[in-house]
Symmetry: C2
Subunit: 332 residues, 2 copies
Amino acid sequence: VTLSHEIHLASRPDGWPTPENFAFVEVPVPDVGAGEVLVRNTFMSVDPYMRGRMNDARSYAEPYQLGQVLHGGALGEVVVSESPDLEVGQTVLHAFGWREYAWGPAGLFRAVDPAAAPTVSAHLGVLGMPGLTAYVGLLDIASFQAGDAVFVSGAAGAVGSVAGQIAKAKGASLVVGSAGSAAKVAYVEGLGFDAAFNYHDGPVARLLRTAAPDGIDVYFDNVGGDHLEAAIGSLRLRGRVALCGSISGYNTDAPTGPRNLGLATGNRLTLRGYIVSDHGDRMKAFVGEMSQWLRDGTVRYDETFVDGLAHAPDAFLGLLRGENTGKMIVRL
Amino acid sequence: VTLSHEIHLASRPDGWPTPENFAFVEVPVPDVGAGEVLVRNTFMSVDPYMRGRMNDARSYAEPYQLGQVLHGGALGEVVVSESPDLEVGQTVLHAFGWREYAWGPAGLFRAVDPAAAPTVSAHLGVLGMPGLTAYVGLLDIASFQAGDAVFVSGAAGAVGSVAGQIAKAKGASLVVGSAGSAAKVAYVEGLGFDAAFNYHDGPVARLLRTAAPDGIDVYFDNVGGDHLEAAIGSLRLRGRVALCGSISGYNTDAPTGPRNLGLATGNRLTLRGYIVSDHGDRMKAFVGEMSQWLRDGTVRYDETFVDGLAHAPDAFLGLLRGENTGKMIVRL
């Protein structure tokens, strides 16, 4: 019997998660039935949205179950196949992360081209769900138009770094990013953002006004809180906000709201929330454009790797603390 | 020489306006030139948006000028005409309120049918700008669809009372209104709202949940503050908010923001601000439908009258304090 290890949700976090909320569990790998495959995972994703699923609360996705294995995006290699659709050795993308081995009907695993990007793990980031999140949020939710001035928070992260680069590629007049350290600010500037600031350097509203003195047309929000309030104060007539996430509020019982939301009336602002899984119909257009941007160097990406399934909780906690530059990935 | 009286902005309010912010001024009426008319005003409107114009701040409209006459919607009777377009005795709608006489090129005055509604002053309310505000906000901004459950704040006011009735007329599954007194709640219920509550009776979030236990699809926001937060907490998937106004924050330096705005991401909420003056192209459709609704009794309206130009500031202050039921109008 082959043994696999997985990470279970041992208890629900109250505020910031701790290592005690996770359990490292050994399980037997079952026999592979007809039409099924066995996959040895090579990379798994940790993403901010996972924090919300650890609460037992109404959310857009089912909460993670207590005492059960976590899940999320992962890449692996087919090691046993009882399906004509997948061959041993193929690289597959699937939703059974947080474990060493994944198995099930072949239809739940999608073969990907490992050479489509400089690293295969790009399928978990710039070419995958985070990349599509940036693409849909900027173009469809915030209705970005060439000439718009754009502000992106979490700009060194997997989604924000791509959103800003797409805005540049599509003709933004200005792209400003915010991040949480001087090193990240340098990284964001290196990606081609016109300006970036460290939000620890002062009130966000002042830092944003300095970076975009004539205001902004689009705000891509990964953060919420004072970032959102600052953006509302800087948005010009008919400005648009893509509400992608609000990581600043994920681990607190007392998030703050934008006190200046009244400006939305006179300035005809639109704020719109979205979830990338509603927008699978955009995947083809996205992959087509993004593949070209990666080939010609228009879009660059970085990855922060943590090694070993046992350290996946550390990778997740580090992500919430902003320790990653670009996509945070666990290498198994 | 004919003399007219007008109300000037004597000083800018700091927080709640006071009578000292207004001056009652006597001015001579000039001769009427070619192409011009002289109009004796009969009714003038006071509206919440006027509070914003009293600030010297960036807003959607030019701020009122210090030491100058205020302005706003008014109705009057042509008393002198040097234009072939308007006759003496005609009733006209125009933007030169806060004064006894108005004058200028005939093109700035629009003749209206005094018999189009039970009261001529309806042209300042249900058949005028506030009615169009309700119509556009509900149908175009919040994309109301038959079957939606709708919550309207300021439901006894000129805009809210109409928004709720339009929702009922167009097939809402539920229409809930909030207002600031038991008498107003009774009034709102009498208009055909399915439920109404007095927001002084407890936390708005709890009162709303009781009135709409299955949640809402549309929130028509005239109030902001805790009403908006409560609505965000009750909005279902793909819920929509028309940000029409936020009277709760107009007279304070410390408005509150919705602390639960993070829910907008997972619930795919859209919040959208608008100004009715952008939507003049909808006036014809609106007047067509509203005239019919008034004729067949589908939409009812009420008016609160204050007599005399000298009491216009009192009418405006009373409006901000919520002393009106339906449209607040100054009868000259």
